[in-house]
Amino acid sequence: MSLQIISIILGSLTLASALMVVLSKHPIRSVIYLVVTFFFITSMYIMMNAQFLAIVNMIVYAGAIMVLFLFVLMLLNLNKEMEPMNAKGAQIAAFIAGGSLFLVLITALKDTLILGQTYRQQDNSIGLVKELGNLLFTKYVVAFELTSILFIAAMVGAILLAKREKQIIE
């Protein structure tokens, strides 16, 4: 029962911080809220006993990626006047669209057969590092190795893109 309460609280907090990401005017704040959101998501992973992912999420997302975002924001040194805002009508349309998407998704969920079912407690060891490691280095070993190439490509790409070029396209 306490697990339920905890999860409800966690879920509400996740959503609240996610909302703050979108709503806050200043990008720095958005980043901070995003980090918070990731924390809560990590905690939800832990609740589902997906330990490996929880750690990775913590390190990669909340750690590496968000720091990257912060760096960029600081690099660009944006002030508040430059913060662009959408027109009101477009915002309302966006909210309506999002809302109806949500409604539709919920409706779809309502009709499915898995409604109200809980996950299987007996198999909850699959989220452990050992299990996933086994999978990762047997079945998905090729894909895993390929990710390294992807990273190299991304790295080279990022360096190339961010390098200050001589001529600046107007």
């Binding site: 477009a90 669209a97 999002g98 539709v104 779809a108 009709d111």
Partner: protein, 642 residues
Amino acid sequence: MAKDLTLLLLLALPLLGFAVNGLFGKRLPKIIVGSLATGLVFTAFLLATSLFSGLHGTQIVHLFNIIDFDQLQINASFQIDALSVWMTLIITGIGSLIHLFSMGYMSHDEGYHKFFTYLNLFIFSMLLLVLGSNYFVLFFGWEGVGMCSYLLISFHYNDAQKGLANSLAGRKAFIMNRIGDVGLLLALFMLLGQFNTLEFLKIGAAVQQNTALQGGAMFFITLSLFIAATGKSAQIPLFTWLPDAMAGPTPVSALIHAATMVTAGIYLTVRSNFLFELAPFTKDIMLYVGLATTLFAAFMALRQNDIKKVLAYSTVSQLGLMFVALGFGAYTVALFHVTTHAFFKALLFLGSGSVIHGMHEEQDIRKMGGLAKLMPVTHFTFLIGTMAISGIPLLSGFFSKDEIMAQALHHNTFVYVVLVLAVTMTAIYMFRLYFLTFHGAFRGGEALKSKVHESGLSMTLPLILLAVLSIFGGLLNLPGLFFKGAAHWFDHYLSHSTFGLSEVHNVHLDFNTSIGLMLFASAVAIGVMIWAYLNYAKKGALAKEDAALSGWERLSAQKLYIDEIYHAVFVRPLLAFSDFIGKVVDIQMLRNGIYALADGILYSANLTRKWQTGFLSSYLFWMIFGLITFIAYYILKLSVWH
């Protein structure tokens, strides 16, 4: 020599001449080209004579299969019987004479070797036509002669003034012939459908075994055959090409457009006699078409001023006469007239050729006159030809025409009366032509007169030979009045070994009627001759200028305006139709329709392009919108199911 070998050699010789002259003719001297062509055709004639003397019964010579499917076989095979051998004799005999004549006539022409090449090819095609043992080979020859005719009519295409007109005349001939060919083609299809073979003998046997074949099918088959015959033999309505075909060199007119090719229609009908016998209605059509043709053509010939045009209309008229005979079912009679006509018409054309040659390419009789002294041989032979065609007694034309008149009198008096009219007109225009050309004063000017000369031996020799034939040709088929033993030799000869003809018997009138008929015909012919002599030679009446013509004369000179009518009724609408669908339907409707479609797509693309605002948020919005619709659709589908 075995018969089949003779036959193949007979066919191969003109082909050889064609090949040799076509390939090397340019480099060979003229005398070799000419004598080679002439010699080969003459050798072919000798071979034909050997076939003729050794003829007994019908023989088929099989060469090879053209198409061999399980049920359908079409062979290149040939048939030797009385009819085909007789036609071969005419073709090669007259052909070699005309070749000889051409050696002199064409001697100044730059296309000398080309001319003999075509001429040999023509002889070959014509031989195919008459010797083939089935309709398919006949059709080969049929189209082949049409092609040669086209080539030879438009032979002088380079001529500065008349070049285009010559080639247009050739085209007209080819197209008109093609219309007839379509008829033959359809007949062939129907025959194939009906009998599954095209062999004459097999069809004949099938017809004899199954007498229930009368009626519709036979009518359509024979009608199509007759359409083919009208095309090739220049009958109404397809006759207008023949006068125009006179644009070709004169020997060509003599060979193709008088003696041989135009009789192909007659040959076709005689060959298919067993079919026509089952279709009396077609025979009636043939009779009246022939009758109309002979009458109108004779009328048109009355006031022509071109020496060759007169002869051309005369040919059309004579061919009509032959169709009248065919219409009565008197096949041998028609063929008899084909033979005599070949003699005297070839003679007349060659004579006119000699005149034209001597007059340095002048064809207008208004510029001639008094040529009798300048060209004695030509004059004399031309006179014989004129007398033969007009039916002066005891010459060949007299007998052959008389046979036809006898048939007409026996079957249908009305036809007889019309024929008398036509025959009278024939005599009138022929004597008019003769007297205007050879008598009176020379009207071509002194400069020309000094240059007029008699033709050389190569041209006069054929004239003399043909004149002899024109005189004595009638002996082939004497009426059974006096020499009972020798009479009707030709009838017997043909019906002896030609399929179907032994079934058909010509009527023979009783003695008194026959005598009366002959006397009447002789009287008419001689009377016309005397009148023409008085009118043209004594009184010196001349051909009138165009402006001075009276009503009926104008009609005759303008050929009853048939060309103009055809032009207005067929040619102009076809061209207009072509313009219409070419410009309006094809370009404006179809192509521009496609373009309009393309424009429409372009336009709609421009419209949809406006959606691509370039604002990421709007794309996202639409994406979400699509997602919603998509999921909503599945939800609805699910809820409908439940």
